[in-house]
Assembly symmetry: C2
């Protein structure tokens, strides 16, 4: 039995990592053999595999299958501790991370706090068009979608029934495309025989994008293939159609009203408040401008990585994708390892683009790699293998593989649960924050 | 393509079933070949396998793994429709079930609305000692347990830390016993290496029972074996210890205060408000007195079954267990089948006790059958096979079996998720109720 009170070595340089997403966890793991004390702070107790979050929102996977407790991930890393806590600010001069009344001192700080969705100044749209960033967001959207079918089954008025069976996804990036494809399949396949007074196959799914085409980050021909495949699944794709209004009755887009009781926001993201904590210069999306070593100007002890950072390569800011966060987390750990050992810094950060991919419904995906691009079933298998590989927990890999195989052969969804939270308990909560998603 | 508007036959006798638990679903299935129109009403969209709910509360299983959408269960039963709705009353004279402003007429009514926990007149205890009846209850308790460990990790005051690491389960019936065993294993096995400032193995689990022994419904020697096994797992078992007070600091039981930040209620149940809807005579737990054919006196068209009904055999009321509900659901369907066909009623309901079982942590259970009783590993295998067999969905059986096998060999828990609900949307909800529990 070892002495738990003494497990952390107080004399080592202390690295505080805020956020246990892809970037933060990769940084923590990169420091596992370094002579430092690592403290990971997150307001959620779990690491979340965000690329599959849309499958939770569309009842394909359970929350636990794409999550792993941060503590369990770092269980065998003896120099790492985990705090479930909400960061309220950073005392840059005093080198302390503030958690309400408490403060955690640091020698090195890595801010990897990610991004939230942004409504481009229309925050009043949020109640009608929820976005998808956390498990709570996903179960909220799942509930909204499933309740719309339930309400339509009991609705006599044809106009109201059609509005209940209309699903609008705003934003034609990868999340919007994947969401729209998944809702189409849910309605047209999984729910097909489950109702007596409506035919879910009549559900209308509309994907709305302001730009002239879907998937701006992909080559045009791939985006065109995706559009064709979405239309084959029964999705109405409206490009060059900016959204002007979102309310309880639906949206106005391109001057026309679409009556829809379910609207999902997949359009914009905004960096977390790390820039405000640091009083640092940020871009319009709130991302902190960092130097080529990912640190804040004049603060070589503060790293900002992933979706929270703005770093340009070839004149363009790096995209907000998992690969950038992972590579930056690894790089920040590398720099800190060098510095605590008195070695020279590694060369500036350089992003290795390994390609990107998006999936559209069942058995179809597009893959773009530096030297190859392909679409269809084989691309879907590639998508599947890559996503399984990056899932952090071996058990989750097996579970997700099983769910996908089951869904593939039966057309069914495993997690069609509508659950509300019970009334909040009156007992004083333990001294930790509400643990809503990152 | 068939005409969805016409799928239900309006001319057939209409059977309305309220509640899609074991009894309600079994009744619906028993009517699948009968010339009737079946309407199943539940305020939740899923059937819940309650005997495994404690495993969701202790992070062993995901909610979706012990649930099945009611619609999916009845998908192939063409004479059945499903309403997600909250029943507000019954118009007995007008033969209508009331759903707020709406009413659903019936020729036969089956009330299978189950039970909630009861605080024996101390409803003010509920916020401090949540009970376990719905998925929302289970994730609430899971959050409470996991947050207590998180808070303890960051607590410096030893007394407060000990209170955070003390878990009290009130009630020594099967649920309480299974809960206490599962928390002990969670603390002593699954979380063992995950913290740096506390040792979860020091967590104190206390099971409190007012009666002289655990498991009053089981033979005394089996109950004694359970007590021994619980103590081996590190559970403090206090029998003959009535609870006098529950508050934010813990409980007072048998005159002594136990400081505990997590208290779980597994002591009493109370029937759902079916008795009030019917203005019928009920027992102290609110169960409706029914006749030997499970109908209300003077109302041969109204059946009350399962935990909501009070029927005596051999001078004792039948217990509130799944087997009673299943057999009564089957019987009610049998009576209705006879009546719509103009045949004589079947003989009065008789409960066939097939035995009962309880499990205590990993690889230990007790089984009591009419002609046999056994304990230990073989009993656990029996428990496991029986529970898998009764899970309603084949996919769920595979998933749960996989989770159990994984947990057995790794000592890990799969669903250690702390998730809060997002703030409620301001948009007007669809015309269906909040879908909490039952």
């Amino acid at each position: 039995m070892h002495d738990f009170e003494d497990e952390m070595d107080d004399d080592l340089p202390r690295v505080v990592i805020v956020g246990a997403g892809f970037g933060g966890l990769e940084a923590a793991r990169g420091l596992r053999h370094a002579p430092v004390r690592v403290t990971v702070i997150d307001r959620s107790n779990h690491h979340l595999f965000q690329p599959l979050l849309y499958q939770v929102a569309t009842a394909g996977l359970s929350p636990a299958e794409i999550s792993a407790p941060i503590r369990a991930v770092l269980r065998h890393q003896a120099n790492a501790e985990v705090f479930l806590a909400e960061v309220t600010g950073v005392d840059v001069a005093g080198k302390r991370v503030l958690l309400g009344d408490e403060a955690v001192p640091y020698d090195y700080l890595i801010l990897a706090t990610g991004a939230r969705h942004s409504y481009f100044g229309h925050d009043d749209w949020e109640p009608f068009a929820p976005g998808l960033k956390s498990i709570a967001d996903a179960t909220h959207i799942r509930r909204k979608i499933l309740l719309a079918f339930e309400a339509a089954e009991r609705e006599d008025d044809p106009a109201r029934q059609q509005a209940l069976l209309t699903f609008v996804v705003i934003g034609g990036g990868p999340t919007g495309v994947e969401m729209a494809g998944a809702i189409a399949e849910l309605a047209h396949m999984a729910l097909r025989r489950d109702f007596r007074h409506i035919d879910p196959a009549n559900a209308r799914i509309v994907l709305v994008e302001a730009m002239p085409r879907l998937l701006g980050a992909f080559p045009e021909d791939l985006a065109e293939r995706v559009r064709e495949h979405l239309e084959k699944l029964g999705v109405t794709v409206l490009t060059q159609t900016p959204v002007q209004e979102v309310d309880a009755e639906g949206i106005i887009a391109g001057g026309e009203r679409i009556a829809a009781r379910t609207v999902i926001w997949a359009a914009g993201v905004q960096a977390s408040p790390a820039g405000k904590w640091l009083h640092a210069a940020t871009d319009r999306q709130g991302r902190v401008f960092v130097q080529p070593d990912l640190t804040l100007p004049e603060h070589p002890e503060i790293f900002v990585i992933g979706d929270t950072a703005h770093l340009e390569e070839d004149g363009k800011p790096l995209p907000g994708v998992a690969q950038v966060a992972l590579q930056q987390g690894r790089y920040a750990a590398q720099v800190i390892r060098a510095r605590v050992r008195g070695l020279p810094d590694p060369p500036p950060f350089h992003y290795h683009d390994k390609g990107s991919m998006a999936t559209v419904g069942r058995a179809y995906a597009i893959v773009q790699m530096p030297r190859a691009r392909f679409t269809g079933f084989f691309a879907w298998i590639t998508w599947l293998v890559v996503h399984l590989f990056f899932l952090i927990d071996f058990r989750n890999r097996l579970m997700v593989l099983f769910q996908w195989a089951w869904a593939y052969f039966t057309y069914q969804r495993s997690a069609r649960l509508i659950v509300e939270d019970p009334p909040r308990a009156a007992s004083p909560a333990p001294r930790v924050p509400d643990a809503a998603g990152v």
